[in-house]
């Protein structure tokens, strides 16, 4: 990018006191036992505001992925409570948790997002199909809209092996959007992409928050990716170090560095 001497900041959107999409209270997660125990999370309290793009940042091993897993119902915390869309996840058994995931959550992973033997179109409607719902009427309109927004109309019949990395992630985003979930979790979604595709994917995530009213929680260790988010949560050593609202780039940097210095 060309250097300019001009300030890069924009007038920001103001943080409305929105409803909470998810909350975590005193969540801990420990693996193993005794001497070889690993404390991935050591008491995390977090409120995820609805309708905003939240980035969870931290170094490797900081527990950010574990936190996301616990929030998403993919993993059970050792102690503490997690509630998403008003439902407490501990109270659900495996089947009901699965159904909850299917209906309320969307996922975009770093890789292996798609089932390789299904076409892009089939991948997108997979959650609906698992729920036994047909894609017609209003759902069909929404599906068409999502597909056109993400520019996938001519790729629907292709298999993931025939799509580039960026296109695959777009399909994953479409899948996450199509069931209109309460919360979309993105785990290092641009980890395997070049800068152009990264910008695309992050742009789409941001767009889904701005224009489609989604709530997105993205786990990342890249500063550039976090720049796209509205809020940044900094995690280190299993605890929340900072929860920044509409931060500037240097604010985020400062928060990350503080954690390093405090060790």
């Amino acid at each position: 990018m060309l250097e300019t001497t001009l300030p890069p900041t924009f007038p920001t959107s103001d943080p409305r006191p929105a409803a909470l999409a998810a909350t975590a209270r005193a969540v801990t997660r420990t693996y193993g036992r005794g001497d070889s125990a690993v404390h991935a999370l050591r008491g995390v309290d977090l409120d995820v505001p609805a309708g905003r793009f939240t980035a969870v940042m931290g170094a490797s091993g900081s527990g950010k992925s574990t936190l996301m897993h616990c929030l998403a119902g993919l993993d059970r915390p050792t102690s503490g409570t997690v509630s998403v869309a008003g439902t407490e996840l501990q109270a659900l058994d495996d089947t009901r948790l699965t159904v909850f995931r299917r209906e309320q959550l969307g996922f975009v992973f770093q890789s292996f997002n798609l089932l390789p033997m299904l076409t892009a179109g089939q991948n997108i409607v997979l959650p609906l199909e698992l729920a036994g719902r047909r894609v017609e009427g209003e759902r069909r309109e929404w599906y068409d809209h999502v597909v056109s927004v993400l520019g996938l109309a001519d790729r629907l019949g292709h298999r993931p092996g025939e799509l580039s990395g960026g296109q695959q992630q777009r399909v994953a985003i479409a899948r996450a959007l199509v069931s209109r979930p309460t919360l979309i979790f993105a785990d290092e979604p641009t980890g395997n992409l070049d800068s152009e595709s990264s910008a695309e994917v992050l742009g789409f995530l941001r767009r889904s928050v701005r224009e489609l009213g989604q709530t997105v929680v993205m786990v990342t260790h890249e500063l550039d990716a976090a720049a796209y988010a509205d809020d940044v949560v900094v995690i280190a050593d299993g605890r929340v170090r900072a929860h920044l609202v509409d931060p500037a780039a240097d604010e985020i940097l400062a928060a990350l560095r503080v954690k390093a210095g405090a060790r």
Binding site: L2, T4, T5, F10, G161, E196, G203, R206, R207
Partner: protein, 406 residues
């Protein structure tokens, strides 16, 4: 950041992993023939001697060349099989060469040859059935019955048909895949070409027209100036007339140039050269106001006082900002804010810097060929020796930045 270009950067469908390269094919063929030849080594211990072994070799070894000369290989093999029918009356292991060669013909040769091979295969099946049945029934149940022969022929023919069908299928599919790859490549090449042509066209047009306009006018001016210099000493009145002509010609040339650059609205009024001044840096404020009037939220930052830049540069800067704001209107999506910043970078004589950025959809916008417009701007800026970069902005949105040396 790279310019967003209309050329698709996808690498295309990956080459199917199970398609062998040339070395792989060679090895496969060798392995196949060696594998098929292995049982032949048991002929001698089993009591089959020279004739059978030679026939086996004659039928199996040519398979090494089945890819390159399928028809010849098939002919040799069919000949050896016919010979075998005459000399030996039992089926041998090397019969396996027949379906393999049939498959090769169907796969690698033209469909007509495949059909011929199929027919030969049918005849061969009938002959083989007769010969083998006769050999088997020798000494037990009398002459070969029609029923038995038909049944046996059909059984053998089924194998031939199967290999022919498989080969034809493989050929068709391979041809189809090749055509797809070819088409993809062609489309890519076309798109690249189109973009290049567009750029080249624009460049050539500008150059050409500039040359036409300026060269003609300048030559007139030179002549007049010479004349004026010459006349200044003798008849000052002629010099004044010449100077007037120079002014008129110069203005006309300017007008032509402006017209060429598309700046005039509604074409030239008859005879009257347009004297309205070209948009300059100071007109950017009006441009931004126009955009605001259209519903866009945009802020403008310009140094005070405005730097003085050559008219051409000012014009180009205006056009760049105009194009960028148009793009913002078309692509940034609802609720996007834009920011225009003009500045002067230090140096002697310095560089004009322009930045137009928005916080809209950025790379996630619907793509409909906005690249060509920016390509034109790039050419304009390049005419003045500057650079233009356009691409998604960190944190979301799009940014267009240009630097023009003064």
């Amino acid at each position: 950041m790279p310019v967003a270009s209309p050329v698709p950067t996808d690498p295309g469908p990956p080459r199917p992993r199970w398609r062998l390269g040339p070395t792989g094919q060679r090895r496969f063929d060798v392995l196949l023939v060696v594998g098929l030849l292995l049982p032949v080594a048991t002929y001698v211990p089993l009591g089959l001697y020279a004739t059978e072994t030679l026939l086996a070799l004659a039928q199996l070894v040519p398979l090494l060349w089945r890819r390159t000369h399928p028809v010849t290989v098939f002919a040799v093999m069919a000949g050896a099989s016919a010979l075998q029918a005459l000399l030996v009356d039992t089926p041998l292991w090397n019969q396996v060469a027949f379906p393999v060669a049939t498959y090769a013909v169907a796969r690698y040769a033209r469909p007509l040859w495949a059909l011929v091979a199929l027919l030969v295969g049918f005849c061969g099946a009938g002959v083989a059935a007769y010969v083998w049945l006769r050999g088997l029934s020798d000494g037990v149940s009398g002459p070969v019955t029609l029923d038995g022969w038909i049944a046996y022929t059909i059984t053998v023919a089924t194998i031939v048909i199967a290999s022919w069908a498989l080969g034809s299928l493989a050929r068709v599919r391979s041809a189809y895949e090749d055509s797809l790859v070819e088409r993809g490549r062609r489309l890519e090449a076309e798109a690249t070409q189109r973009a290049e042509l567009a750029a080249a066209d624009e460049r050539a047009r500008i150059a050409r027209e500039m040359h036409d306009v300026v060269a003609h006018g300048l030559s007139v001016i030179v002549v007049q100036a010479d004349g004026a210099r010459y006349a200044a000493a003798q008849e000052p009145r002629l010099a004044t007339e010449a100077l007037e002509t120079i002014a008129i010609t110069g203005r006309e040339a300017l007008t032509e140039m402006r017209r060429m650059l598309g700046l005039l609205r509604g074409g030239p009024e008859a005879g009257t050269p347009d004297t309205r001044p070209q948009p300059r840096l100071v007109d950017l404020a009006a441009l931004v106001d126009e955009a605001r009037a259209g519903g866009m939220t945009v802020s403008l930052t310009m140094p005070d006082p405005l730097p003085s830049v050559p008219d051409g540069v000012a014009l180009t800067a205006y056009r760049v900002v105009q194009e960028a704001l148009t793009n913002v209107r078309k692509h940034a999506g609802p609720g996007a804010t834009a920011r225009v910043a003009v500045g002067l970078l230090p140096g002697r004589p310095g560089t004009l810097s322009l930045v137009v950025e928005d916080d809209g959809r950025g790379a996630a916008a619907d793509d409909d060929g906005r690249g060509l417009g920016l390509l034109g701007m790039r050419e304009r800026v390049a005419v003045h020796g500057g650079d233009l970069d356009a691409g998604p902005r960190l944190g979301g949105g799009f940014t267009v930045s240009a630097r023009i040396p003064l």
